[in-house]
Subunit: 216 residues, 2 copies
């Protein structure tokens, strides 16, 4: 018997029609949850976006909460693949940090709704996800903090508090997804373009690397 990854929806047998429906439902649900948060999102909205009846939606995901948790789980999995400095390509601090920033910004650009769902969840107190977050996030963060401290001890960068460094990088990159509306207002654009993300990557990595006293 093969050890399969536990899925929250695992109990139901997977038919072709179920697999197809679940995929589109999760995709549309992410958009709605991103815009309205958990409480504000309505199953009727999601059902309408998928073009099925509200009650039919509840056949595939028996409760609103189960749907939400599955959306959230998808997001965290995408996140954790990239959210590590330690496994970033490169050997020197400058390269690793720059690639880390570029990867995080790419997530903001390609998965803005995922970022917004996550933001909503954290703002409202991470009630649904706290434990899962603690478990999976903390370990990779601690590893990355250690790496920064190694670099500090080796004299490769200034002695700063690694935690606040990560808070700054997370915030500065996620803002291009979560607060895109404000950024669009400021830049007087209807939509953020590739060049905006390129400029952001350039700016953030320059300021962070130089600000940390890392020689390139």
């Amino acid at each position: 018997m093969s050890e399969e990854k536990k899925k929250i929806v695992s109990s139901k047998p997977q038919t072709r029609i179920r697999a197809a429906h679940e995929k589109t439902i999760l995709s549309e649900a992410e958009i709605i949850f991103a815009q309205y948060g958990y409480a504000g999102a309505k199953l009727s909205q999601i059902a309408k976006a998928v073009n099925i009846s509200k009650t039919n939606l509840l056949y595939y995901f028996p409760t609103k909460e189960s749907l939400y948790l599955n959306v959230l789980k998808n997001i965290i999995d995408i996140w954790l693949e990239k959210l590590t400095l330690f496994n970033q390509v490169g050997s020197d601090p400058a390269t690793k940090i720059k690639n880390y920033i570029i990867d995080k910004l790419e997530l903001s650009q390609k998965h803005p709704n995922a970022s917004k769902v996550f933001a909503n969840e954290i703002i409202n107190g991470a009630t649904n996800i706290g434990d899962y977050l603690q478990e999976r996030f903390s370990t990779t963060l601690e590893e990355d903090v250690k790496l920064i401290n190694t670099w500090i001890n080796e004299g490769k960068m200034d002695a700063i508090d690694p935690y606040h460094l990560f808070f700054m990088i997370w915030a500065s990159t996620q803002t291009y997804a979560d607060f895109s509306v404000q950024i669009q207002l400021a830049l007087k654009k209807d939509k953020l373009e590739q060049c905006d993300f390129d400029n952001a990557a350039e700016f953030i990595s320059k300021v962070v690397i130089k600000g940390l006293g890392i020689s390139q």
Copy 2:
């Protein structure tokens, strides 16, 4: 006839009991809206927090939307008082930028719920506040951008894109309010303390100022 500031609730005459109720209602509403966003917040929750009936609440604020707009207006007024680099004390770039960052962080510390309501509003598309924001925010931002460009032309700092600088500062400071739960998880604390905000101010201003090539 004196020119009074237009208030959204202006139409009703102010009695003592109304003034007192409105104050506590706005205060509690801010907390609830911060946690659940507009759609997610329930008038019944807010009424319960104020210890009045839901219908009585609707006497003081005739609609949910009117209540929300008043909460939001309070917040923006607090914001705009401080959110200007131009009017910051100090004459040299380093001092002005450092004080700007300290002030923004102080807002995150003292008005975390205001910050969260604002964050929710922006994430869900700024549908209620877009015009007001454009009007009041844009002017001060443009002024601040000009100031940065002056400093660049005077050779006081590296030639960077001023807009992305402000996005970074806003994000890095607001994250201590909006994402406080995530930060608490990372720091393994139940509550952020004064020293955490001091460390944040120290870190952010150091990295930004040094990263911009500003000599101190």
